[in-house]
Symmetry: C2
Subunit: 339 residues, 2 copies
């Protein structure tokens, strides 16, 4: 088997890519601006040019087994991006086919949270764990669910939208999805900032957060204030951790995972978030599962994680079905190599 | 492959068993009282005697491929019943091993709702559906989740307790599990009866249900009253269907099933339950899934369903690992035969 995969993480602002080996070492990486091109063909041309330079500079020509791509709303089954919420091009985009044809290499795509779960299973905290749920706490709340060693895609490729479980049935916060009361509206970085604004408005105590214009407060500001001992800021983490822990107890009755793995900016808040989370998880857990479910933090470096997660999918990329395999490209094997 | 399986459904009152062929026809069936014996060995002796009579009378000696058992809290992985809530014997019971040794036939066990899901997939409404969630609406609310054609057992064999998702976070009803606000406390047959008592106490309108002593009201009484046009009874079904539909929207974000399959007494309430259920499901569905998820009713006859569900597991029964395969018993194949 060829020794490398190319991982590509397509974000709303930057597209980061890297050459990764079977042990999960990022050999080299680069990036381009996602929004520079008004049409997706030009974007893929630039991506191809820059990635090829990286491949040649690292003596990896003809050594790339497959390409894995993580992108918002990317569908593993169809190879398409079906909705472009944060991307500047009209949907649907047959991304896997386009990239595969441009590079002459098999491509597999999935959404960012699923890519993170696959990365964690291949290279990170979930190595050897067959049943776990990855929760990504970023601007939104994403998830990737692994059951019996396999990522759950659902009948249409869109399973694992746990950020859109309803955690507050009545008078819940408006969510970006158009509904109200979603987990994401409370436990994402933006959810934490919203909680800060609510708490500051309702409560009268002094707080370090009152030194910041209320619309500018970020979850990082709340973290800094909590670390400095600010009571309101600490209560915001209590509130956030409690909701997340309660939700995780509900997720447990579905797939009975042996672990949850948390990833993303908020996960780095450490015990500020984890203590109330674990307490709520334990208090709300059906007795059948009590004491069985670990809460772990991602072991992938944040800078590398998106590319690593995407790259892991490259090991299982198969030549895109709608196109003949380009000459000289061997069909991909079905699993990551044993390292 | 041998042409029959033996399905055994162990309920709190009766144990029903039947000889089933590969097309899901119940060739013959029988039953014994579950609670007649104070020790489980005597119970298994009687079960063996009665089942053997049935097997011999139907010329099925040496033609039974495997035995599948559905029982409360039965664990597919360990072969044990780990908790005996409704059974008269002390737990844990190494049921698969005991039955396998007594019959000299491979045995597989799982809980009743999982057995129902496997039965539906093998013989019923879920034939050809790879991603679905079975909801059993009986005394409690049970569930069996199938993802990519495989039943979800979780890391410990206890996945799929969707009756214990919390649907009312604050001031919820006490559930048999000791927590409050579980789906089961609202959408089971007993939940419907509780709703009736609540509605009759809070509301003043006349109702046919007021003719029944309030503690004696069953979900069947509520159904009969609703069919007779009783407003409160119809509102009880509205209330129940709405909660179930809302919960099913949350279940959808987990595994993106293409169908839910409803089974059990309440499922037979038809549009009284299904209309508000579908409305709530649609109203609460994340847009990604809207219009994609069917709500189906079980296609297994209620009288046969438990035995059929359990029997389907018999096709995948393997000789119990802790014991050598009895002489003359071929190892089981890993899948149901193609019919």
């Amino acid at each position: 088997m060829k020794p490398y995969v190319l991982g590509i993480d397509i974000g709303g602002t930057n597209t980061v890519f890297g050459i990764v080996d079977a042990r999960g070492a990022v050999i080299a990486s680069g990036s381009i601006k996602t929004r520079k091109h008004n049409n997706v063909e030009d974007y893929i041309d630039e991506l191809h040019q820059e990635a090829q330079k990286l491949i040649e500079a690292n003596d990896a020509t003809d050594k790339v087994h497959g390409i894995g791509i993580g992108a918002p709303n990317a569908n593993y089954f169809t190879g398409n991006i079906d909705e472009c919420v944060n991307l500047p091009w009209p949907a649907p985009i047959p991304l896997a086919q386009m990239v595969s044809e441009r590079f002459g290499i098999p491509v597999a795509i999935t959404n960012d949270a699923n890519a993170a779960a696959i990365g964690e299973m291949t290279y990170g905290a979930a190595r050897g764990i067959k049943d776990f749920i990855m929760i990504t706490l970023g601007t939104g709340v994403g998830s990737g669910i692994v059951i019996n060693g396999q990522l759950v895609y659902g009948h249409d490729g869109f399973a694992g939208e746990l950020g859109h479980m309803i955690v507050k049935r009545n008078n819940g916060r408006l969510c970006g999805c158009g509904r109200t009361g979603c987990l994401e509206a409370y436990c994402s970085a933006t959810g934490v900032a919203r909680t800060a604004r609510e708490f500051l408005e309702v409560r009268n105590e002094p707080s370090l957060l009152r030194n910041i214009p209320v619309e500018d407060i970020t979850s990082k500001d709340v973290y800094d204030a909590a670390i400095a001992g600010d009571k309101i800021a600490k209560d915001i983490f209590e509130f956030t951790g409690k909701i997340l822990g309660e939700s995780m107890a509900d997720m447990t009755v579905f797939s009975s995972p042996s672990a949850f793995i948390l990833f993303g900016g908020l996960a780095k808040s450490g015990e500020l978030l984890l203590k109330p989370l674990r307490e709520a998880l334990d208090r709300n857990m059906l007795s059948l599962y009590k004491g069985k479910v670990k809460v772990l933090l991602s072991e992938l470096k944040e800078a590398d994680a998106a590319v690593l997660g995407a790259s892991a999918l490259g090991w299982e990329a198969k030549p895109y079905p709608a196109t003949a395999a380009p000459v000289g490209v061997a069909p991909a094997a079905s699993a990551a190599p044993q390292v």
